[in-house]
Amino acid sequence: MVTKKAAAKKSSVIGIKVRFELITKDKTRRVIFGLEKDTEGNVVTWKIDFQLFERDKKGDPWGEAIVILQVEVDKALNTKAEKALKGLTPGQSAHALGPAADDAKAANEGEIDEEEAKETVANTLKQK
């Protein structure tokens, strides 16, 4: 017989994805903020999967995401990402639903560069 502590060592988590779904109160805008933590040996990488959905009125199908952004998280933000994996703060949620979603949409419409939009999305992690 072995202890449960020993049993737990036989497995190792090499990928975690937490998907926070933020739906606006009027239910016409939905942001999916997925945060992925991947481990290869002792190397840890972080990625943000950002998707924006909009619809005209509550009850309509969401359809396809109007914007999908995959953002590699800067190593300097790894500590912040580790914290965000444990949940977005109110400020981060506000940023994701507001500026991040708006800039993602603006980039999609050619109003700003996609890089600028990705930076705004990644900045979500900086927020308190």
Binding site: M1, V2, K4, A6, A7, A8, K9, K10, S11, S12, V13, I14, G15, I16, K17, V18, R19, F20, E21, L22, I23, T24, K25, D26, K27, T28, R29, E36, D38, E40, G41, N42, K58, P61, W62, L85, K86, G87, L88, T89, P90, G91, Q92, S93, A94, H95, A96, L97, G98, P99, A101, D102, A106, E111, I112, N123, T124, K126, Q127, K128
Partner: protein, 712 residues
């Protein structure tokens, strides 16, 4: 003081059960496994081979989940099984397959939604490994999770408590057929079914479900048909339901049957969480009309009682419900004012008080001690006339004050030792005018399989993730509460339009200055115009936003609270423009425009700083309190199936107005409960009728059976 006796029994059961717990706690499991570690290995570089792969989802007993799980598992298996391990396939492509299957499809009604995916490697031996993909999804209706009726649902149908039945998938059929069965020695074996239909659209009517239920035996008949609608909102009335119901019954007393048919229309409302998230308030009203008949032999009729009659009645009801970590308690009161047909005055007034308490406590891993107790009191005042079946008839048969399942107010004395509705003879006449009943059911799961695998439930990271995911939703709610603050509203109304105009004026001033100084400070001009454009875009998005949360994010981005996110857009504009103006040795147009913008910015900062964030946080936490407790129960305490010995103890009294509550009747008993989440629940046992009255038996066997949806 007499009412304290049943409560003492309640405590006695608790002590007895807790006393047996060390037997279970002392049990150990043989967890012999390979001790080869999977930690810290780059499996691709080290040349590992994938031995097998699987997807774990605790809700895979649901057909539509199982279909997706199998489909995704087959695709992943063909991708990785028996092949060299590669992160790109085992992790990235497999994750895409799972994402595409979408294990928690769209719904438009639920705002608390989370999904966690974990990829683990196991059994890393001989350069081979097993891949395990774990997917956990849930969505919760915040207010309804406080209700005792929901607690029963969690135990029997955890997928409903987790919101997994409220999905829009083609394989989710719009109807459910549930067989029903029950037995006691008076009612005999009664079998039947319940059909629930939830069409996507019910013409243009404000209804979303149809119910048909019928159950019959050689001695009894119960038929009902209902059409219901509901709505959830973010206001004080968090949930509302309406229902039109027809029902017919013929229930045995052992001395003939009571019969009736009625049509009713009702409305029920549930408030948002009150008292720091510890209480919900329910209320409603019902209008009913129909008829009541009886076939009793040796009938002793009170003077104010009509044996058979049509009637109309109005019911009003209210109640409070609370859910703590391991307790649900509710108190309900109902008042019925009724009149027999062709009578203009109120014939009777019926008062019913019903208190439910359910305590569940894990003693050992997922071994739950359940104590359900219920105290019900009723009284009838008869200034006119009352149909006999409207008086109180008690026994194993439970009468509910309202039709439907969502709010169950008991309206008669229940004692499981007296079959049918055989408890009705008082000293004065048949049918009681007052009653008291207390029912205790204690169960302890001796054999069970947890809904969530134990290794996950005990995993500190998983539990942290779960709590944190709820924190995200709470934080999001907090933002919404902030937007209701009067200072924020003033900021929107008075300052936001002004900042838009000020930015336009400043942009024009900077452009004018640039045109007047060709070739001078080009980079600074470009940087300032970019800063102004970004601030203008945030402002425009805030003004045009259709949603308060989206608007709040944009407003916040203009101000200093967002400084860490590199936003703080108005301050950035001010810094840039001031630097530019210094370089230009003061341009009066820029000076005037920037001063105007700065005034607006300072006003915005002042108002934003006055927002009561603490109050918003408090309100959000209160709103999510029930949800947090429900999720903790669902993930840590609910079993996929369980077998539990059951002890019961009932006390009931029925009396006429003159003799008070009548004599004490006791009904201890024992039995077995078998519950398979989502599939069936079955309770059987025997209850003794202590000191039976003439014409009554010494007790009765009873069982009830519910089988979940034959079409799944």
């Amino acid at each position: 003081m007499k009412f304290l006796a049943p409560l003492a029994v309640h405590l006695l059961f608790l002590i007895l059960f807790v006393g047996t717990s060390p037997i279970c706690l002392g049990q150990t499991q043989d967890n012999t496994v390979s001790l080869e570690s999977c930690q810290g290995i780059n499996f691709e570089r080290e040349g590992y081979q994938v031995r097998s792969s699987r997807i774990d989802d605790p809700f895979d007993f649901l057909p539509w989940v199982r279909i997706r799980q199998r489909r995704a598992a087959a695709q992943i298996a063909s991708l990785v099984n028996g092949k060299p391990f590669q992160y790109s396939t085992a992790r990235d492509q497999a994750r895409e397959i799972i994402e595409k299957e979408n294990f928690l499809p769209d719904t438009s009604e639920v705002r608390v939604k989370l999904r966690l995916e974990l990829l683990s490697v196991e059994n890393c031996s001989n350069r081979s490994l097993d891949l395990v993909y774990r997917v956990y999804s849930t969505q919760i209706m915040p207010v309804l999770s406080s209700l005792p009726e929901t607690r029963t649902t969690e135990r029997r149908f955890p997928q409903e408590a987790a919101g997994m039945n409220r999905v829009d998938v083609p394989t989710q059929k719009p109807f459910q057929l549930t067989p029903l069965a029950g037995y006691d020695s008076t009612r005999k074996l009664a079998v039947g079914a319940r059909l629930e239909m939830t069409p996507r659209r019910l013409w243009k009517l404000p209804f979303n479900s149809l119910f048909l239920e019928a159950q019959g035996s050689s001695e009894s008949v119960k038929v009902s048909a209902a059409i219901t609608g509901s709505n959830d909102s973010d206001g004080w009335l968090a949930h509302s339901e309406w229902l039109v119901n027809y029902s017919y019954f013929s229930i045995p007393t052992g001395q003939g049957n009571l019969k009736g048919g009625d049509l009713s229309a009702q409305f029920t409302g549930v408030s948002k969480a009150l008292a720091s998230g510890n209480l919900t308030f329910r209320f409603g009203g019902l209008l009913e009309g129909g008829n009541r008949q009886n076939e009793l032999v040796n009938l002793r009729l009170a003077e104010n009682t009509i044996p058979n009659s049509g009637f109309v009645s109005l019911k009003v009801y209210a109640g409070l419900a609370s859910r703590l970590r391991h307790n649900v308690i509710s108190a309900s009161y109902g008042l019925e004012v009724g009149s027999v047909r062709r009578s203009e005055q109120a014939g009777w007034r019926k008062h019913v008080g019903d208190i439910r308490h359910e305590l569940w406590y894990p003693i050992g891993d997922h071994r739950i001690l359940d104590l359900e107790s219920r105290l019900t009191i009723g009284a009838i005042q008869v200034p006119g006339k009352i149909p006999l079946p409207e008086r109180f008839f008690g026994g194993n048969h439970e009468e509910l004050f309202l039709p439907g399942d969502s709010w169950q107010i008991r309206a008669n004395p229940v004692i499981r030792a007296i079959p049918g509705s055989g408890l009705y003879r008082t000293e004065a006449a048949d049918g009681g005018e007052k009653f008291f009943s207390y029912n205790l059911t204690a169960a302890y799961s001796v054999w069970r399989k947890p809904l969530m695998p134990s290794e996950i439930v005990k995993d500190a990271d998983f539990n942290a993730e779960l709590q944190n995911a709820i924190d995200v939703v709470t934080g999001n709610l907090q933002n919404y509460h902030v937007t209701k603050d009067a200072h924020y509203q003033e900021l929107l109304k008075e300052q936001l339009p002004a900042v838009s105009t000020s930015l336009d004026v400043l942009k024009q001033a900077v452009q004018n200055a640039q045109q007047a100084r060709p070739g001078q400070a080009e980079n600074q001009f470009a940087e300032c115009l970019r800063a102004i454009n970004t601030a203008s875009r945030r402002t425009r998005n805030a003004i045009q936003a259709t949603d308060v949360g989206q608007q709040y994010g944009s407003v916040r981005a203009l101000l200093s609270p967002s400084v860490e996110v590199d936003e703080n857009r108005l301050a950035k504009v001010m810094t840039c423009v001031n630097d530019l103006n210094t370089t230009l040795a003061i341009d009066q147009g820029i000076s005037n425009a920037s001063a105007r913008l700065n005034t607006v910015r300072e006003n915005m900062e002042r108002l934003f700083g006055m927002i009561d964030q603490a109050q918003a946080e408090h309100e959000a936490k209160a709103e999510m309190a029930f949800t947090r407790r429900t999720l903790n129960t669902l993930f840590n305490e609910v079993n996929l199936y369980s077998v539990s010995p059951v002890l019961i103890f009932d006390v009931a009294r029925v009396g006429s107005g003159r003799e008070g509550f009548g004599s004490w009747r006791y009904g201890p008993g024992a039995g077995l409960r078998f519950e398979i989440a989502s599939t069936a629940h079955f309770t059987t046992g025997y209850a003794w009728n202590v000191k039976p009255k003439p014409g009554e038996g010494n007790g009765t066997f009873f069982f009830s059976l519910g089988v979940r949806d034959l079409f799944r």
